[in-house]
């Protein structure tokens, strides 16, 4: 008889469901690598060519390093941020739009499993893109990572934070325009003004103070510290800010999932 099936226990079900969502998300961005992995590789190569090789030598050293060495960590971090965010927001909104998110919502999969599964996809794509861009940068300059543990942990935490941002955006998004507003009007300006291409030491007083309110500045500088051993801000402050934002975002995401905002009628 079909209906006498033995159901797996809670922990087992949750683990298998997590693995399923994480693999589904990973498989998605690998399947469409022409849209997900190739474009950042091309864009960042252009950054290295133009800002590193062509303009860089005219700018001269920045914070005691060759200009291309200075921008490499920022450019890598920029690709991590953008890709982690875009992966989750587009995948989650796509699932909402096509309504196949209902497959998961009607199943016994707990909310935190749904969240972690989607984050796995975002973090995975963010880090993989970062790795690709790092490999490309090696063709333009010699990289010696000063603090590998800090470099990896900051990249991971930043990818996690922006995956969470993408998830929250995906929950609230009602149409495709809504998933491009935040990246275009908030994420990109904050990233460019977050010290990717310059040191905030170059900025006049009030602009420097204003820059300190930009959370991306802390991530870029912490990552740069891992690479070069140089940072405009204390590394502990950067970690604290990233972790606080992650905690807030996790709580907000779980709250929104529990309330069914944008998902349940």
């Amino acid at each position: 008889m079909r209906s006498t099936a033995v159901y797996p226990g809670y922990a087992r079900q949750t683990l298998i469901a997590l693995r399923t969502i994480a693999w589904k998300e990973t498989h998605r961005y690998l399947r469409i690598w022409l849209q997900t992995l190739l474009p950042p590789a091309i864009t960042m190569t252009l950054y290295f060519v133009i800002f590193g090789n062509l303009i860089g030598p005219r700018i001269g050293p920045m914070s005691g390093h060759k200009y291309i060495e200075f921008i490499v960590p920022g450019v890598i971090m920029m690709s991590v941020i953008t890709n982690a965010y875009m992966n989750v927001v587009s995948s989650f909104f796509g699932a909402k739009f096509q309504r196949h998110i209902e497959e998961i919502l009607v199943s016994p999969t707990p909310n935190y499993t749904i969240l972690v599964g989607y984050l796995a996809g975002g973090v995975g794509r963010g880090l993989l893109t970062g790795l690709i861009v790092t490999s490309i940068s090696m063709a333009f300059t010699h990289i010696h990572i000063q603090h590998p543990l800090i470099t990896i942990s900051v990249a991971f935490l930043t990818a996690l934070l922006f995956s969470l941002g993408g998830f929250i955006n995906g929950i609230f998004a009602r149409k495709f325009d809504d998933i491009s507003i935040v990246p275009t009007f908030i994420l990109t300006p904050l990233t460019y003004l977050g010290g990717v291409f310059y040191s905030i030491e170059l900025l006049p007083g009030v602009w420097r103070e204003l820059s300190l309110a930009n959370p991306i500045l802390y991530m870029v500088n912490a990552f740069r510290y891992g690479f070069l051993g140089e940072s405009d801000i204390p590394i502990q402050t950067a970690y604290s800010i990233i972790i606080v934002f992650i905690i807030i975002s996790v709580c907000l995401s779980l709250y929104l999932l529990r309330r069914g905002v944008g998902l349940r009628t």
């Binding site: 209906s3 159901y7 469901a17 199943s107 016994p108």
Partner: protein
């Protein structure tokens, strides 16, 4: 055992629409239960609440004794849903959709492969297992949704218009399949607009209208409430006027077809006798509509938009 229990279920949408008003409903284990009603009656809202896609305003829902509020994990594990609209990833293959669904319910990959093969074969989709789902025909998509809903072996399967837009051959094969899984122990709740389907499959039926259950009984009892049936008679020759038949209400459909209403206290023999008296030869005869459909229409007849007339239907005991 109760497979499903709804108690004082209410749903008030933000738009102000009161979709459900104190709905009480029990579906026993093993039943093939029909949930009928006109568009906007509240059927999909009930199904949405049971499957947790719609948040209820008030009331209780239990699936095999598990509350969807207090024990959602257990309740959801026992439930399978075939929604009205296609809601699978149109970029995934048939196999991926089934395997992912199995994963959401904690079924191991190996077991999922076995079940996918079983259900896709039973539903005639095995040869299309590697096809991207958006390339399937409408009927195949419907069957894919049934296979997906069954992959975790739910004890309660809810089908929301599963045969909409499906040709009659596929529909009948789906009926056979659903009958079989019901016989094998799966409780089924079917919401459909095809009343022939409900009459053929369901043992018990609830009719919902304007957010309230207006009838909940077995099909036989329900059909006994039908106090009149309309028949279409094809006659030999041409009629200029409808024949006057004592005690029967006759309406000409065209020059060679009559519509006759036969009350439950009348017999077809009487009708044919009257027709013979008028030298009217009947070539063929059929019900104007399915019996349940006729009853359904009569129950929901409204003289105005706001007042329902319980026309020719006995009061529910």
């Amino acid at each position: 055992m109760k497979a499903l229990s709804l108690s004082k279920l209410n749903k008030l949408y933000a738009s102000g629409v009161h979709a459900l008003r104190d709905v009480d409903l029990v579906v026993n284990e093993g039943e093939f239960f029909g949930l009928l009603g006109p568009n906007g009656a509240g059927k999909s809202t009930i199904i949405g609440i049971i499957s947790s896609l719609v948040r209820k305003t008030r009331g209780h829902v239990e699936v095999f004794g598990y509350s969807i509020d207090r024990e959602p994990w257990q309740a959801k594990s026992l439930l399978g849903l075939v929604p009205q609209e296609f809601n699978f990833n149109s970029f995934e293959t048939v196999s991926q959709i089934i395997l992912n669904q199995a994963g959401f319910y904690g079924i191991t990959r190996r077991a999922a492969h076995q079940r996918a093969e079983q259900y896709l074969t039973e539903l005639g989709l095995w040869s299309r297992r590697n096809s991207v789902s958006r390339t399937l025909s409408g009927g195949m998509k419907r069957r894919l949704m049934i296979a997906r809903a069954l992959v975790h072996h739910p004890r309660l399967l809810i089908l929301d218009e599963p045969t909409a837009g499906v040709d009659i051959e596929v529909r009948r094969s789906m009926w056979d399949f659903l009958r079989r899984i019901n016989t094998e122990g799966t409780t089924i709740i079917l919401s459909t607009h095809y009343l022939e389907e409900a009459e053929s499959l369901c043992r018990n039926i609830a009719i919902i209208d304007q957010g309230q259950i207006i009838e909940n009984t077995d099909v036989r009892s329900l059909l006994r409430k039908l106090t009149a049936q309309s028949f279409l008679l094809d006659i030999d020759g041409r009629l200029t006027d409808a024949p006057e038949l004592r005690d029967f209400h006759v309406v000409p459909v065209d020059e060679s077809c009559l519509e006759v209403e036969v009350r439950s206290d009348q017999s077809l023999n009487e009708l044919f006798a009257r027709l013979a008296e008028r030298n009217v030869q009947v070539v063929s005869m059929k019900n104007k509509s399915n019996r349940l459909e006729e009853l359904f229409i009569r129950m929901l007849e409204r003289p105005s938009a706001t007042h329902r007339k319980p026309a020719q239907v006995e009061k529910t005991a």
